[in-house]
Symmetry: C2
Subunit: 298 residues, 2 copies
């Protein structure tokens, strides 16, 4: 009973002991049933447990509002330096949040208590030689011994702040994944890695664009302000109704498409650079952390 209440009120500062974590796993189904019956939102620890146990494999936009979400890239150690350099040179597309120790699937506890990156993401993509081989819901067997796991900030992080500012999210409203597009905006090369930026798109009312820019600019660790507002063709997007990843959404008369750098950029880079082996999250299916979205805001 004590534990179930802890679960509901989970914050980064409530660090359960290993014993509590075991108990938690047992207590979770009840806690989840209780919180869902109340229509309340899940805390990240609950959400990750649900994912780990195979009860959720959908997209994470709109999930655990107010918490930082991350893109995942797992490479072999031999490719890790180039990718780290790539992130350093392309901070808007690839804002690096954490990097795990070699071989470890566990991010620091300060980011996500008791997390396992092999199981706690709803869906993964496996790339071989730059080609998508398969999408699966856990990567325990695929995880390489000499792995380096990178967690890259994601724009879902500020969904909650946008909603609080009365800026609705069409993808969430329509129950869809966000639309993502390849662009002609080149990233800075790093070693063997090169390619163009991928952007996500939100339809925003013309009268709300300034507010959206000012708000998202406060989240540099989650791609920050938009890279383009309107003018899709000027960044190489020919047809908004045919996204390269995710689902097309309605753009209303009083709205304009607003494009943010997207954490699928690394996947595009891995494809274009024909990297030998990589595990990533499947587009739109993020790793939900215990860190508050605003924690790094300045």
């Amino acid at each position: 009973m004590q534990i179930a209440e802890n679960v509901t009120g989970c914050t980064p500062s409530n660090t359960p002991s290993p014993f509590q974590l075991r108990e938690l796993k047992l207590a979770l189904p009840n806690a989840l049933a209780k919180s869902q019956a109340k229509g309340s939102k899940l805390a990240p620890l609950q959400f990750r447990s649900l994912v780990r146990n195979g009860h959720y494999n959908g997209t994470t936009n709109g999930q655990c509002p107010g918490y930082l979400q991350c893109n995942l890239v797992v490479l072999r150690k031999s490719e890790a330096f180039d990718f780290m350099l790539f992130c350093q040179r392309n901070p808007q597309a690839c804002p690096l949040v954490e990097v795990c120790d070699v071989g470890s699937p566990h991010p620091p506890e300060s980011l996500a208590i008791g997390a396992d990156l092999r199981t706690d993401i709803p869906k993964y993509s496996i790339y071989k030689g730059g080609v998508l081989e398969k999408e699966i819901t856990d990567v325990v067997k695929e995880w390489p011994e000499d792995s380096v796991a990178f967690l890259v900030g994601c724009s879902f992080t500020y969904d909650s702040a946008l909603l609080q500012a009365n800026i609705p999210l069409r993808s969430v409203e329509e129950g869809k994944n966000v639309p993502m597009y390849r662009t002609n905006i080149p990233c800075c090369d790093a070693g063997s890695l090169k390619g163009n930026m991928v952007v996500s798109m939100k339809p925003i009312k013309g009268v709300d664009v300034a507010k959206e820019v000012l708000l998202t600019n406060k989240y540099p660790h989650a791609h920050g302000a938009p890279v383009c507002v309107g003018c899709p063709q000027s960044i190489g997007i020919q047809d908004l109704n045919n996204p390269d990843w995710g689902d097309a959404v309605e753009i209303r008369k009083d709205e304009i498409p607003v494009f943010h750098a997207c954490g699928v950029t690394p996947q595009n880079i891995l494809i274009e650079s024909k990297v030998e082996f990589a595990i990533t999250h499947a587009p739109g299916h993020m790793f939900v952390t215990d860190r508050l979205s605003d924690e790094k805001v300045f």
Copy 2:
């Protein structure tokens, strides 16, 4: 010689004595000829002198870059309280920079050394009963004894900052006045004053919009961030090629119209509220101050 050099280097901290001001007037033609021959930009004091002496009656966009420009509204004392309340309630459209003492055409020396609001603006509009009666280049005879002169911030103020950020200004490039449009965005009423906001429009590249928003947001005393980006019909603008004031400008394929609250809003309010008597600047023809644009930036 000494004085002419002072003129060229004029800043708000260089306060000339009345004697120097007289000398200045004599020295100006030479100083102007010299600075124009060099292709250099005029300092505000030089510019105002040129205007006062009837040598310039054009628009002020692109003039004296880096200095605060202001819209002028002159009312009789009986209307002054309502207008002041209107500015207080509509700070984005009417950011109040200074208000002169009753009867005085002189703003504080800290804003503009030796300035006379009856002569130092390139063109004025006279309104009677909410109808534009005439446009003239000085208002010495029209200035009422019980005048209250209001100086309201103007978006030309950040022209220089936009240019420095590599955001070009189409109106300046095309040698035109900026296009201004009536909108359906209501202002907050104040006493007898009511009406809708007027906006100015700049074509901005889609990839530059975020930069433009973040930059202009630093100038709340000059209308701040845009009120709408794209979607002109959503704010009641039917035809961008037919502005209500100023001149239409080209919008290129990779650009989007960006709308800022405009200091012509008071004129629209005076018209819609049928104010008995008012003097204003003619749209696009501003009062150029000695105050640096960045002085109030936070």
